[in-house]
């Protein structure tokens, strides 16, 4: 009865909320939903007519064309492999580092260590990557000079197809890791200390405590971090644009970068078809991950 009485009072109020939401809705529609629809639509048209009012429809021709393009197929596999590598190393390293910073061992140093690892997150990525580009340089880079001074073998860096993915990954980890560390730290702060103490009394080893007590409580951060990292590494772009231009020999020519190059050449149909493929992968993987996680928590 009370709820029913509230209904009429609420109905007129939606009008005002419409007003509040209008600018946000306009921006989302014009610079979000419309471009996405347009992109999907463009992927079914011929590139030459894409910008014209009545484009030529070509059905799935662009999709067939990109899957017949060996550069694209190689780029797709490369992107997936790199994403797998990058997401795994990001989650593992961020988790280990968060556990270290959360332990009593670092004590008062925590504030500084946290700042140091987070600073690159807010540093404009271009500025960071131009520096890394030169730190990796074969002859003038700090990294190889330091390695040589320590009589260690030199690192191929960006010049060699066998090391360029690692070099790009290091630069990306430098830029992104702090974000994931801080999310893990926020989750660790919410963990139930009583459970760990109870495990201590039961005589559990450090590894047992981590596996059976801490890790299950870190589920929220693990889920969020995996989804964020997945979306972020699938669209790896700036690091490639700054450091390698997709090279050497296409070794870092990831999907986003290849699609953007085609767009730059005016091949809109194929570029947007690639965008759709990447979008589909992001949606399937992200939703799949959330499903798996939801089932795991038994909710």
């Amino acid at each position: 009865m009370a709820a029913a009485a509230l209904q009429p009072a609420r109905a007129p109020a939606v009008g005002v909320f419409w007003l509040f939401v209008l600018p946000f809705a306009a921006l989302t529609a014009v610079f979000g939903v419309w471009p996405i629809v347009l992109s999907i639509q463009t992927s079914f048209t011929a590139s030459a007519s894409a910008l014209k009012p009545s484009p030529t429809w070509v059905g799935f021709a662009n999709y067939l064309a990109i899957f017949a393009d060996p550069v694209f197929v190689a780029s797709l596999w490369r992107t997936l492999l790199y994403t797998l590598l990058a997401v795994t190393s990001t989650i593992v390293l961020a988790l280990l580092y968060a556990l270290l910073l959360n332990s009593a061992l670092v004590g008062r140093g925590r504030t500084f260590f946290k700042l140091a690892v987070f600073l690159p997150v807010v540093t404009p990525d271009i500025a960071g990557y131009v520096v890394w580009r030169w730190l990796f340089d074969q002859s003038f880079g700090a990294l190889n000079i330091a390695l040589a001074a320590l009589h260690l073998p030199t690192f191929g860096g960006l010049a060699s197809t066998s090391t360029v993915l690692q070099a790009v990954l290091v630069a990306e980890l430098w830029h992104h890791l702090g974000f994931y560390v801080v999310i893990f730290l926020a989750n660790l702060a919410l963990c139930d200390k009583g459970q760990t103490e109870a495990a201590d009394i039961d005589g559990a080893t450090a590894l047992q405590k981590f596996w059976h007590v801490v890790l299950p409580q870190l589920r929220p951060a693990l889920l969020v971090n995996s989804v964020y990292a997945l979306i972020q590494y699938l669209k790896t772009f700036t690091v490639v644009a700054v450091m390698t231009k997709g090279g050497p020999n296409d070794a870092t020519n990831f999907l986003s970068y290849y699609a953007y190059q085609l767009f730059d050449q005016g091949r809109y149909g194929e570029a947007t078809a690639m965008a759709s493929v990447l979008f589909a992968i992001v949606i399937v993987l992200a939703v799949g991950l959330m499903r798996v996680q939801a089932r795991g928590t038994g909710s």
């Binding site: 109020a13 939606v14 005002v16 909320f17 509040f20 939401v21 600018p23 946000f24 921006l27 989302t28 014009v30 610079f31 979000g32 939903v33 419309w34 471009p35 996405i36 347009l38 992109s39 463009t42 580092y97 270290l100 910073l101 061992l105 670092v106 700042l115 140091a116 690892v117 987070f118 600073l119 690159p120 540093t123 404009p124 990525d125 271009i126 500025a127 730190l135 003038f140 330091a146 430098w174 974000f179 801080v182 999310i183 926020a186 989750n187 919410l190 929220p220 951060a221 979306i231 699938l234 772009f237 700054v242 986003s256 953007y260 767009f263 947007t272 965008a275 990447l278 979008f279 992001v282």
Partner: protein, 278 residues
């Protein structure tokens, strides 16, 4: 037992110290190199301090790609500032409405549309946005760049998360007192939301300051380029100007670094807020 704790502590500090060194060294190298001539950098790349503390490099990068440096700097300030103010106001109003009327079908549809937008690979969203800007006649305009940069996921989640925590009783009390929704927003909700709005503004500023691809794609000439786009151009030029690149990187990095150090707690908790609890 005590002995073990001691070497564990030393190990922990060493690991954290090494990680921090790797995180911070690029800044140090960037700063030192910005004072050294390209020739000197190539001759001894690891020199820990510059030969001279001259600011001559500023004259060298006074023009980048035929456009004066101050123009890029001014563009950066104007575009980042305008997109931050617009973005936070628009997103705050939108998120507030979506939280207050979460079951209204049109609002649910809008939220879904926004979610899809932020899931779409950002770099590839820029391609169709170019077509949209072309159709709206916004290519090459400041308004086109500012409008596109105004929309972002982190400020939305941060504000939405906050509005959800406002107790229903607070709003109901205001309704009983006869306040209109506009009055509730401005005299009840907004005063409470000020700290979150400040955090959202700082974060949006930091993120938009770093943007380059949308600026590059929507622009028609260097007249609307920001500092990161100028750096991108300098980085791509033949006959690499090490010193210029490093000096420009320093110019881009210093303001956001200071901003971050001053507001570090807000930025770190804000960027990760809602992620775990939400």
């Amino acid at each position: 037992m005590h002995q073990a704790a001691r070497w564990q502590k030393i190990l922990a500090w060493s690991v954290a110290g090494l990680v921090s060194f790797v995180c911070l060294y690029p800044y140090y190298w960037m700063l030192v190199s910005s004072f050294r001539t390209s020739k000197a950098i190539l001759a001894s790349p690891l020199r820990p301090w510059p030969e001279t503390l001259s600011l001559d490099v500023l004259r060298e990068i006074a023009m980048v790609g035929g456009t004066p440096l101050w123009r890029y700097a001014l563009n950066s300030l104007v575009i980042t500032g305008a997109s931050t103010v617009l973005g936070v106001v628009v997103t705050a109003l939108g998120a507030y409405a979506l939280v207050r009327r979460p079951h209204f079908w049109a609002f649910r549809l809008l939220r879904a549309g926004f979610m899809v937008t932020i899931m779409y690979p950002y770099m590839l969203l820029v391609i169709p946005v170019y077509i949209v800007m072309y159709k709206l006649g916004l290519l090459g305009s400041y308004s086109g760049i500012v409008l596109f940069l105004a929309l972002g996921p982190i400020q939305f989640f941060l504000l939405e998360q906050f509005f959800r925590t406002i107790p229903k009783s607070v709003i109901e009390a205001a309704v009983i007192d006869g306040a209109t929704e506009v009055q509730i927003l401005f005299s009840v909700v907004m005063p409470m939301a000020m700290p979150v709005v400040a955090t959202a503004s700082i974060i949006t500023f930091l993120l938009n300051w770093a943007q380059w691809l949308p600026v590059l794609v929507v622009s028609r000439s260097p007249d609307t380029y920001t500092l990161p786009v100028a750096l991108m151009n300098l980085n791509g030029e033949l006959g690499v100007n090490f010193q210029g690149i490093m000096a420009l990187s320093v110019l881009i990095t210093i303001p956001v670094t200071l901003f971050f150090l001053i507001a570090q707690r807000r930025v770190m908790s804000g960027m990760t807020a809602g992620a775990v609890k939400g």
